[in-house]
Point group: D2
Chain length 270, copies 4
């Protein structure tokens, strides 16, 4: 069901690899809600994934950009401003990757070249994006920027490794830049802390299925799906949430506020 929540709005969406991606779902929902969008991802991801299918469906322009490259971000923002013929109303940052996690390197044996890559890709890229938008004065007044996060930023999830640090930094950037951009022109910056999701990126984490089952059991509403996440993100892009900023918003079926449930205890004690 669609409500025209984003009618007339223009947005840039990072990270739609394939139809399992949260960003893919956000793109679809944003268009359903009346937005015009531009899709972007790294050149490698553009080749590996199926973004053109999405672009066609959404009538979207695709502009390649490595989010760790300020130059490519500048090019992206220029292209977006030109393509839209005006400023950007919303942006989704759904970018993250840890070579340490991919290679199953234990947290007590991290490779630091990898770690800086994790941080650059998964956290500093968000600052680079915001700073590029800011310098080019590319966001419309009352615009909205959302990045995807995970509860490992607050509580240790074994196996998530240095992505915990990256997400902690990502959320900090949302606060810090939210303060700056809010004062400038009422742009809000938030992170959505989403349930473990069966995306291609998620599947790179060893043992995700077991974690998924555990949090699904502990969460009173069960894990939140990628589709539900897209619904939620749409509200954050809309004009109905104009005073919500610098927040980390849990979209997780209540998981973050659960300590112990009877059903988890039962399964645990079997």
């Amino acid at each position: 069901m669609a409500y025209n929540l984003l009618k007339g709005k223009r947005g840039v969406i990072f990270g739609a690899l394939n139809e399992m991606s949260i960003a893919w779902k956000v793109a679809e929902r944003a268009v359903e809600e009346g937005a015009q969008i531009l899709l972007t991802n790294t050149p490698v991801s553009l080749r590996l994934g199926t973004i053109n299918t999405l672009a066609e469906k959404c009538g979207a322009l695709v502009v390649p950009a490595d989010a760790t490259s300020v130059e490519e971000l500048e090019n992206l923002v220029d292209k977006a401003l030109e393509h839209f013929g005006g400023k950007i109303d919303f942006v989704l940052h759904s970018v993250g990757m840890s070579p340490n996690v991919r290679k199953n390197i234990p947290y007590e044996d991290l490779n630091y070249v990898n770690m800086f890559k994790t941080i650059d890709i998964s956290a500093v890229s968000f600052h680079k994006l915001l700073q590029t938008l800011y310098k080019k004065d590319a966001m419309a007044d009352y615009g909205s920027v959302v990045a995807l996060s995970y509860i490992a930023a607050q509580r240790t999830v074994e196996g998530y490794s240095d992505m915990a640090e990256a997400k902690a930094m990502l959320e900090s950037i949302a606060r810090s830049f939210g303060a700056v951009y809010g004062r400038k022109c009422n742009v809000r910056v938030n992170t959505v802390s989403q349930s473990p999701t069966m995306t291609t990126a998620g599947q790179g984490i060893a043992g995700l299925q077991k974690m998924y089952d555990f949090t699904d059991e502990l969460s009173p509403l069960g894990n939140a799906s990628a589709d539900e996440c897209a619904d939620y993100v749409v509200t954050l892009f809309s004009d109905l949430t104009r005073k919500v900023t610098m927040q980390n918003l849990y979209h997780d079926g209540g998981y973050s506020m659960m300590g112990i449930s009877n059903s988890v205890i039962e399964k645990f004690n079997k």
Copy 2:
């Protein structure tokens, strides 16, 4: 602007005293978004305020109920089910009052009869409401319940007195009952932690204007208004936020995530 976000939904709204009330704004917005609503408040508030004006405007039934009385809540819920001819989709709890605050009694000289009244009216009433809804199986699957809170639940605001304790308890009830109601039939329960707002209730707090100015300065987006709060609450009642539960959601222009701003420091040091 309206989106039909609550089309076909039916809700009960507590606490619309007069047109300055947040609840009043929520009622108006809910109806604009397509909902059918029922208004309720204590008999005294019904007399003191101007709820009938709102009821007429919204085509709403008004049912008196003291939220501290389980009997009156039972009657209210029965009336709502009957009036709607079906279950309730959303509820707003905007109820709070401290006799200690009203009488300007210092926090180190609290009257405990007053304190239990504060707690009953401002916090336990929320449990009574939820328990009544639960026992009567009155909430529709995927329904949404929101209560209004304030950051004094987390951080001491001098002058807010025992309302801090009431709000801390209110938010705890949202978590505890959210876990129960979520497992039962996917009903979500959240609190919205709103900026200081110039309502009739707010004006009962000594020095509200000064607090208001301070938080307005510190918040990158400024204080959130009652109208903006209504917009936000509407998203929480909608189907787009189905996996958000047990949360305390700051709607405060970023205040909660601010430590120190340059402008506050400047004014402070003058």
Copy 3:
């Protein structure tokens, strides 16, 4: 091992029922560290428990007091000031009980007479105690007050019922009164959020053993024991922690900061 950390200090300790009690351990450790103490509990608990054994061992005066009665607290504080011949340096509030939990009443069927008892005994008693101390100017400058809490104040623990609300309020009182008492004469007020502990009170919670095992597994250091809690509380009474106030301090082997551990996942998925 003892360090004379509390040499010359005088303290009042609530809640030492028997040798399993955390308060019992705190009393023993405080005396080992050089303090003079006064023990108190409700008349019923004094009869049911074995406090006299402790009193003899510690050379402590025992003064009965129901912590929900301002009158009895006044009497207690008067007796303490007289007995010590001077002001009080530290106080432990280890008081909590829920008739709803005791009677295994589900959270969605709470009896409100019970709930107000829970709140009065487990939370408001802390305000009554602090207010009595404050009005009688009974705390020495740089004194320290500690109350025992539990993580259910932040995250839902099924089975802990309305004690969650009581602990949330208890922690709020520590903040609110900490602000007042700190400005007056540098008295600090904190809560210690302790692991599930096999005390007589703890054993009143249905399924405590299973919860205990679960948190023991999830916590990197395992659950904290009553003895360890006493060690920690002693540091908070000492002069080494004079600027720590209004905090909720987790003493739980790291449980509060854990999301998911491999070993819990393994047991869960068996």
Copy 4:
């Protein structure tokens, strides 16, 4: 006053530049409490500061090490094990620097080479240190590691710039590595979130004096001093806090739990 709290313990202390440094105070207090210590800092800081005065006073060995260099950390740990003739009981990480802050570069115009330096020096160095200790099995069972943090990790402090991100990451590393090291041999890892302090490093932050005055006014106990911080850190190194891990512990006179105080409002509104 000394208590022999660290009698027989051996510790490594980073970051004692001069007698204003928190690390300097911790070193002095640790020795007073019976510990044997080893001091370390970067070669540049060793030259610029007055560490030799401290070393003489404390009978401490000084080993230069750049905390961003794994090689130098390995050398440091080897030297410490050799010097002590046994494992290390405690470590203080008091290391942080942002070239962006030093050069007064605005947060919306960050230089990313600088930012990665900030992160490496102020956050990743903590992981490098812990990993080096871990791989060399250099920490004694029940050892304790503390790093110094600041509330900008949670709430935006304008002017603190990318150090906010560094501190958020630092605290995340404490959690993540605390989980690992706790399971291995009960080593605990915590951060202390300290009031603004008039150290040489602190003075590098533009407008520190004004921030200092503001937080001093808002904190019920006033700002915590470097001396008081040293007292507190000593308790965390002692055997009395063995089950406290993965925590960020506020040592700030209550600042972190304050929203608004009357006196701040008065000054603000003048």
